[in-house]
């Protein structure tokens, strides 16, 4: 357990000092600040545009961190041979892999917190989407009640979106890690981007190939059916590949709609179970692999 912790801290420091991590973080922060200027292009719903734009920036750059650092965190170690000194210590390979992955997870959480904090500051300055929460000193009579501090909170949906971004990015990172153990870094990145893309559209594609029905004279009649092969292929992709669209709640965030606890729990369990499954497979592959 200690070995995992030390490896995670070491990996986190390594990622934190890497150029790629900084670049993504800086780009995301620039976009979050830029969301203010983008929102000025509209007369109405400026807050909504800002939220949409910033959430997009935070999501995409965390996904990039997951893809590019996830595909290189072990692959580069093997390529540059820096792994030789680590796994020839009295450390199990699984411990090493968990430690590396935990370090990456910590880096994703760290970047999300920084991005969300900057986003919160922008919202605070603009006075949009923040909910005032006055803290009062309570006296004996209502007249004595006095507000001495007002906190500005973010809506629940925005916080849940931040949590979902972390889960989604960690999930993407484990996909990248898995591919990097069976192929090259470049291919691992490409495959992960493909999985992410398909995972985002598979749900909509699945709905599109569903038979179109109409109720005529009280009876449900199929008026259009897509090609069987196409339908089967889309169903297969939808069932096998992860569905990333469940982590996208940007519309709810834009309209400040609270997310139900069932949806939150479903998202967390869905993301974690896929991540754990892929990590176990990666770990088995890594244990059998010759490192030369």
């Amino acid at each position: 357990m200690k070995n995992i912790l030390y490896t995670a801290i070491y990996s986190f420091n390594e990622i934190k000092n890497s150029k790629i991590f900084y670049s993504f973080l800086v780009f995301a922060l620039v976009l979050i600040f830029g969301s203010y200027f983008v929102s000025q292009t509209s007369f109405i719903s400026q807050g909504r545009i800002m939220v949409d734009f910033s959430i997009f920036a935070i999501t995409i750059f965390n996904i990039f961190i997951g893809i590019f650092i996830g595909s290189s965190i072990v692959y580069d170690d093997i390529e540059k041979k820096s792994i030789f000194l680590s796994i020839t210590r009295p450390v199990k390979r699984t411990e090493y892999l968990i430690g590396r992955f935990m370090g990456l997870t910590a880096a994703i959480i760290f970047s999300t917190i920084i991005m969300m904090f900057i986003f919160y500051l922008v919202l605070l300055i603009m006075h949009k989407y923040v909910i005032p929460f006055p803290i009062r000193s309570v006296g004996r009579a209502p007249l004595h009640t006095k507000t001495f501090l007002t906190l500005y909170l973010l809506p629940q949906s925005l916080l849940i979106q931040a949590l979902f971004i972390i889960i989604e990015s960690v999930f993407i990172a484990v996909v990248a890690l898995f591919f990097s153990l069976i192929t090259s870094k470049a291919l691992a990145s490409i495959f992960t981007i493909l999985v992410f893309f398909i995972g985002n559209v598979s749900s909509r594609m699945n709905t599109l190939v569903m038979p179109a029905k109409k109720i005529i004279n009280g009876k449900e009649i199929i008026v259009h059916r897509a090609n069987y092969v196409l339908t089967a292929a889309v169903h297969l992709i939808y069932s096998v590949l992860p569905n990333f669209s469940i982590f996208n709640i940007s519309s709810e965030v834009s309209y400040k709609i609270s997310i139900s606890s069932e949806a939150i729990l479903y998202g967390i369990i869905y993301g974690l179970s896929y991540t754990i499954l892929l990590f176990v497979i990666s770990s088995l592959l890594f244990a059998r692999r010759d490192i030369s």
Partner: protein, 266 residues
């Protein structure tokens, strides 16, 4: 201490995954408290053998044991220090932080003084606060040496430890090996530089084309070398090999060179 029994390792190469033997049926015992030199030309399988010992590579067949544990078991590495060939470290981390990290993975309590001591012994103490990506090749080698001798391990395995070092570095490294020898450490190191043989080793193993062709103590090998050289001087072919012989200073070096050459041709 370290036992290799009928170890074979093949790799699959090319599109059709054709088997190519890197090490063939290798049996070798590395004795406790001795320095064993592992010599052979480039591509002989020395690094592959070492990687199997330290658990980086799985043998295709046979077994590798360290202190009674299979080399893949993490307990086999409880008292083992390994210096890889051309070591490398991640960017953006200071030398001292790297040594601290590795010290924590050892399951031993290592204090600050011990860390400073190994850094001084490896001759890299002065650069401990510099980021490793700014290190030269020799400095990286020294840092890796510091990492490998951390925690005073009983067994030390060095893969081509003298490559990448300047003449001063080579001399200093040899001095470190002598110090470790005084402490009765078990040292196994690979090299293709025959000049390192007599100076450092108690025992020599020679690997050519993945096959072990010699595994003897230095005294036995010296005797063989003497006899071989006497036969060779009486031979008429000596003039043809005169240039080759002049490259080596001692009979042992000439003997080992000819042994490798003969087996490589075969």
């Amino acid at each position: 201490m370290i036992k290799l029994k009928n170890v074979t390792k093949y790799f699959r190469v090319g599109f059709f995954g054709i088997k190519k033997d890197a090490v063939k049926n290798l049996s070798l015992n590395i004795d406790k408290g001795k320095i064993t030199g592992f010599f052979g030309p480039n591509g002989a399988g020395k690094s592959t053998t070492i990687k199997m010992i330290v658990g980086l590579i799985h043998p295709s067949s046979g077994s590798v044991e360290i202190n009674g544990y299979d080399s893949q078991d993490y307990r086999a590495r409880l008292n083992l220090g390994y210096l890889p060939e051309n070591p490398s470290f991640p960017r953006g981390i200071k030398g001292i932080d790297i040594v601290k990290y590795y010290s924590k993975l050892l399951n031993k309590k290592i204090d600050k003084n011990s860390i400073n001591e190994v850094l001084k012994l490896a001759g890299i103490f002065y650069a401990r606060n510099i980021h490793v990506h700014k290190y030269s090749k020799g400095m990286t080698q020294r840092l890796a040496l510091a990492v490998s001798i951390l925690g005073d391990p009983e067994i030390l395995i060095f893969d081509e430890p003298l490559s990448g070092l300047d003449p001063i570095g080579r001399k200093e490294f040899k001095d470190i090996i002598f110090k470790l020898k005084e402490k009765k450490k078990t040292i196994f190191f690979s090299s293709h530089v025959l000049a390192d043989s007599k100076e450092l080793c108690d025992k020599i193993a020679v690997l050519v084309g993945g096959r072990l062709i010699k595994d003897e103590s230095i005294s036995v090998l010296e005797e063989d070398a003497y006899n071989y050289l006497q036969t060779k001087t009486n031979d008429t072919d000596v003039t043809e090999n005169g240039a080759e012989m002049s490259d080596y200073n001692t009979p042992l070096e000439v003997y080992l060179y000819d042994l490798m050459l003969k087996n490589k041709r075969n």
